[in-house]
Structures are given as C-alpha cells and as structure tokens.
C-alpha cells in the first residue's frame, strides 16, 4: 500500500508507538495515509482502538519477520 509518510516505531515499547503515531498524524492532512512499523505486540489492538476513537481508519495491517506494519488514513 502506498503511504504518504512512514513511521519507524520498531523496538519501541508501549506507549511510544502510539505517542509517535499521534505526533505524526497531527502534521498530516485528512485523507493522507501513514505507514507505521512496530515490533510491540500490543501495538495492534491499541492502534486499532486509538484510530477508532480518533476518527481515523486502519486500512490494513500485516505481520512479517516479527514486524507489524499498519496503514492508517487520517480522518
């Protein structure tokens, strides 16, 4: 999936993946897509819940070699 921006949150523990995602999102325009790479296992459930509560959309996610990749469209 083509992203407007990529955030490397690999190796970061909770809450940092969300803190950084939120910061990046603030600087983006509605409709733009942020790709997030994280290794924290809790990131998936938390990013999904965070995106929903913030009006963003989790478009897709995948897991490969212990790295979780998420694509979130800004709402």
């Amino acid at each position: 999936m083509k992203a407007d921006k990529v955030l490397n949150a690999k190796g970061l523990a909770c809450p940092m993946p969300i803190v950084k995602t939120r910061k990046e999102m603030k600087e983006m325009e509605a409709g733009e897509i942020l790709e997030i790479q994280a290794t924290d296992k809790g990131a998936k459930a938390d990013l999904t819940a965070w995106a929903n509560s913030g009006g963003h959309t989790l478009l897709d996610h995948e897991e490969a070699d212990d790295v979780f990749t998420f694509w979130i469209k800004k709402g």
């Binding site: 523990a13 909770c14 809450p15 940092m16 969300i18 803190v19 939120r22 296992k41 809790g42 459930a45 938390d46 819940a49 965070w50 509560s53």
Partner: protein, 375 residues
C-alpha cells in the same frame, strides 16, 4: 517527588485482605472487558492511555481522594506515563510494576494445613488467572500438583523448605494454562506423571498414574492416592492426600463444575463427568477438604486467601452437584457454554510437547480469564 510503583505481590496482599484500592486501568477497552484485577474491595476506572495523551484533567474528578490509586496497563510503560501525568496535576498514584503481565504471573503461596508428622500442604494461588497449584512436603520430600509455568517459584519454595521435589503430577492435560510440571520435574530430577488417557499425543516420556495408585513421601506416613474421575478430560484424575484433602483438578470447583468440551468431546464425556461428580465423589468421606485447580470469582476465596471447602458443604451449596435430572445436567454442561479459553488449542499442544513457544508467546497465550467451568 517521583512516581512510586507497587508490585503484583503487594496488590495481591491487598486483594486478599480486602483493602480498598482504586485501579485506573489504562489498557484498551477490549482488554479491560476481557480481564482485569478483581476483588471485593477493588474499584475500577477504565480509560485507555491513548485517550489521555492530551492531559489527564478530564479523569481527575472521577478519582477518589481518600483511596490508594494504582494505574495499570499491559506491561508497565503506559501506566508509568499516566501516573507521572497525574502527579503533575497533584494526584498521587502508583503504577503496577510489570503491568498485567506480572499480575497474571504472580503466585501467592498459602498454607492449607498441617498433615501428620510435621508434613505441610501449600496452595499456590494465581490471583490474576485463577489457577491453583499445590505442594505437599513431608520428611524432606515434596510432591507438586498442577504447577503453572512460573517454575522458579515452586523450585525455590521447595529449596527454602529444605525439601527435594520427588514427584510432579498434573491432574489432566490442561487447556487454559501452560503446565510447569515437566520443567520442574527435569530441573529437580523428579518423576513427571500424567493420566495416560490424556497423554495419547504427548511427545515426551512420563509415568502413568492410574486409579488407586499411591505414593508416599520420605519416611512419613503421608500418602497421595490417585482417584480416576474423568469428565473434564477423559484422563482427569483427583488426588486424595492423607485422607484429609481431595484435589479435584478441573472436575469440581467451589462454586461450579468442570466443563467437558475443551478437548472437543463434550457429548462423549458428559456421562463420565456425571459419574465422577454423582457417584465417585459421594462415595468418599464427606469431611475431605476439596482443593480445586481453579477458582472463577474472588468470592470463592476464604479469608486467609485460600480456596478450599469441605466436600460435605459442596454437596449442599454447589449447584452443579445438585441437578437430579440427567438430561438437565447434560444440557447445562453442553449447551450455552462460556467462550473457550484464549488459545486453548495451542496451550494443549504446548502441554503435549508438540510445540515449544517462546516465553513471550506463552504469556500471550495465557492472557485473559480461565474458563474451565460451567455454573
């Protein structure tokens, strides 16, 4: 001033002693709904940490002024951050060390009683998951029953008591938590026993326990006897310790009974479950004290934090032992069962030795409440 932390052991003491505690749980709402720190004296507020990143002012009015506040999250990081934000606003709160992960793994040893010749029986209460394990110690020898995967706790406990672990049993092949039995047996050079009917697919060597099999400890008179009581699984075996205690595994709990479906065979095993509960247990001495492998609700704990009750009392108080109609019983244990435990198929495979997940994965597999019972 810096933010203070509180350990799972300290929280568990407060839960057992019914000390008031206010838990600000900052995990996401699904995680909170699934599983949380519970207790009669515990109050909760669930507010995900990611909704508090702009500030904690909005929740401060919901926090008690007089009560001790503990912030909890999955691992620790988020709760520490929120506790720091609260402190900046003048609210003192501790964060839970190691988060819910540590809560899930904490074991509280409780002495159940003295047996003959200075022998002792201990129960290891896993408050965060509802698992109960046991150690019988007599004349410098120990037997461990239904150990969880926090194996160091059992090994160190035996060492402190100057006892050598000689026998390690599992009452059945567990589906809700990963057994520590095999690891403990290997570390201590002890024998590991399983009921053969549960162990058909097991990939390692073990010793078989069969109905009526007995073992003693040291030169004491303490004896542990196996009683075949199938139903939760086809191999499920109870243990009678010194004619005083009845370890029921996942067949009989304090306020519920075992479910027969976790190995996919509810219809086949419901008759066995009925027979164990309605024929085999009633044939035993009513004064036996029942020690199950799980509890479901904090209300099942006695005042000293133990989970134990006379068989006689369970025959009058436990609904699952008082269903006269066979069909009604069959329906209760096969229809409308609660959801199955998290990852129960992977947990069974792990306990069979078929897969060997890393510790982190084992933790993930065990997350959530145990669901071995029907009420």
């Amino acid at each position: 001033m810096t933010v203070q932390s509180i350990s799972a052991a300290e929280v568990s003491k407060k839960v057992v002693n019914k000390k008031p505690l206010f838990i600000l749980d900052v995990r996401n709402e699904d995680a909170f709904a699934d599983w949380k720190i519970e207790g009669e004296s515990i109050e909760h507020l669930n507010k995900p940490y990611f909704d508090l990143l702009d500030g904690v002012e909005e929740i401060i009015t919901y926090l008690p002024e007089e009560k001790e506040i503990v912030v909890a999250c999955a691992k620790e990081g988020s709760s520490q951050m929120i506790a720091e934000m609260l402190l900046e606003e003048g609210v003192e709160a501790k964060f839970l060390e190691g988060g819910m992960k540590s809560w899930s793994e904490h074991l509280e040893p409780v002495k159940i009683g003295n047996l003959t010749d200075g022998a002792e029986l201990f129960q290891f209460v896993r408050l965060g998951k509802g698992c109960l394990s046991y150690m019988v110690i007599a004349d410098g020898e120990a037997a461990v029953i239904d150990a969880t995967r926090m194996t160091d706790t059992f090994l160190n406990f035996a060492k402190e008591k100057n006892a050598v672990i000689k026998h390690v049993f599992d009452t059945h092949l567990h589906a809700d938590h990963i057994s520590g039995g095999r690891v403990i047996a290997e570390a201590a050079g002890a024998a590991y026993y399983l009921p053969p009917a549960d162990a058909g697919e097991v990939t390692f060597d073990f010793q078989e326990i069969t109905d009526g099999w007995k073992v003693g400890l040291g030169k004491s008179n303490v004896e542990i006897e196996a009683l075949y009581t199938p139903g939760h699984t086809i191999g499920s075996t109870s243990f009678i310790v010194n004619n005083q205690y009845l370890l029921t595994g996942d067949i009989l709990f304090i306020d519920s009974i075992g479910r027969p479906d976790l190995a996919g065979r509810a219809e086949d095993w419901v008759g066995d479950l009925r027979d164990s509960l309605y024929s085999r247990y009633p044939a035993l001495a009513e004064e036996l004290i029942v020690l199950p492998a799980h509890f479901m609700k904090m209300g099942e704990l006695n005042n000293d934090g133990s989970v134990a009750k006379k068989l006689k009392d369970l025959f009058t108080e436990n609904h699952g032992l008082n269903i006269k109609d066979t069909q009604e019983f069959r329906d209760m244990v096969t229809i409308n069962l609660p959801p199955q435990p998290n990852a129960y198929e992977e947990i069974r495979k792990t306990n069979m030795g078929k897969i060997t997940p890393e510790e982190e994965e084992q933790r993930e597999m065990e997350i959530g409440p145990n669901r071995c019972a029907v009420r």
